[in-house]
Assembly symmetry: C2
Homo-oligomer: 269 residues x 2
């Protein structure tokens, strides 16, 4: 596969950078081709602002959705954004790698999403009717491709467990996995997470590296997270509410948006 790895850590000699190099080596050894967007090294601009829309006249209001739609449609997005879009179209798989800062991605990576995921490319795609509500959540420009996160958390693993005080890691990552990656169509693989990363020593690093190598060897075959397709019949359209009877009785929250049949299969494995 062709793999794009988007990397967001300011230190070239960080533990995250070492893990990135482990991932790249293993992917290449397995026959994959890898390109890297190292956001800090590229001096990536994080903020959506007027400079992103050279077509906007000075007296026009900046409405980000409308400006993004217009710039994508007329091919007037800035060159840095166009280059990232080309990389996304080139790649069969996207990896976002970042340290978990305040329970989500660093600003520079959020700024990559905010700027690169343009209207007409990553959202605002497809027909809106009583049969379909756009090509999103399992459909869209990036459908058929795979994506996954590589995340370094400073806190203890237990603190991110099912009853841990931070909240479960899968729920903390849901707005990214489901809201950013599944939305434009990616099949989202389970994330690779390291915990207590600030306290790593040589043996802990080597154990994590070994686990990461194993994950990288299965990126083509591992089952994606079984999110429900928006237009596959599970949701009322256009309210986009999950139909009664789907999901565990009395359940609420993010877990509703996983297909039970697949969850049972995974639990049985």
């Amino acid at each position: 596969m062709k793999v794009l790895l988007v990397f967001a850590h300011p230190e070239p000699k960080s533990l995250s950078a070492s893990l990135r190099d482990v991932a790249i080596s293993e992917l290449e050894a397995t026959g994959h081709e890898v390109r890297v967007s190292d956001l800090y090294a590229m001096g990536w601009k994080s903020e959506v602002d007027r400079a992103d829309f050279p077509g906007l006249s000075a007296d026009e209001r900046l409405l980000p959705v409308a400006a993004s739609k217009n710039a994508f449609a007329t091919g007037t997005l800035t060159d840095d954004v166009k280059t990232e879009i080309e990389k996304l179209l080139w790649a069969d798989m996207l990896i976002l790698q970042f340290p978990l800062w305040w329970f989500t991605m660093p600003a520079i990576l959020k700024g990559w999403v905010d700027r690169v995921f343009a209207y007409g490319f990553a959202y605002g795609v497809g027909e809106h009717s009583d049969k379909r509500w756009g090509d999103r959540y399992g459909e869209g420009t990036l459908a058929g491709k795979r994506a996954m996160l590589i995340v370094a958390a400073g806190g203890w693993e237990e603190h991110y467990g099912p009853r841990g005080v931070n909240g479960p890691i899968d729920d903390l990552l849901f707005p990214i996995n489901h809201g950013i990656l599944y939305y434009p169509g990616y099949d989202v693989l389970p994330p690779f997470v390291t915990y207590s990363t600030d306290r790593f020593n040589e043996p802990l690093f080597e154990a994590a590296a070994q686990r990461l190598r194993e994950r990288m060897r299965t990126v083509e075959t591992i089952e994606p997270i079984p999110y429900r397709r928006q237009n596959g019949g599970d949701y009322h359209i256009p309210a986009m509410e999950l139909r009664a009877g789907l999901g565990a009785p009395g359940a609420a929250g993010f877990g509703l948006h996983l297909r039970e049949s697949e969850m049972k299969k995974l639990a049985a494995e």
Copy 2:
């Protein structure tokens, strides 16, 4: 009260800016004092990088946690960050106002959190022992102060409902409300959210403005979200897992971290 409003929208004539002005007017009319950090107008720098730590020598690795700890302890944080910390200490209440981009805050506001919430100030505070795991989640530097979000979502309200395809809005905002605001000690008020904001016309705007005025009149008295205190006995220390018997039977996810007694009281009201 003294209120700091941190605002993150690139357009001074946006709907978000109009709602901000409505909030400020109402707060001032009620006798509160308001200061604003308008991040785009300030040219806020979003990325944590070496420029944030002038004390770091050129051959030293940038470890963000260690660098933040050292810079806060030695008073060598950059002036823009120091100014924001002074505002946070001055204010009795913090409001973060932003459009919901990809189910969370824009990069520029995440960058404000990443840079201003320094080690020793917003995290890494207090004793770590078998009795307490730091001053966090209800305790900390900002304890006794209030905080809330004002959020403009583009999507339909139903899509953010209990069974909506995007996930429930309270769960999407949990990493911010609980992970960013409650963590350093704030009492977190229920968020003020507008939906379908991109389709607002004059009557819809006026209805939202009226609802916002009412919310601003109660900021001093409204009950905070009843998150559990980390060191109050509900969690095992140091695993920080919620004790057996707490939370609804079989429940998982973010809802576990709300006190049931308070939830029942709120539901009965």
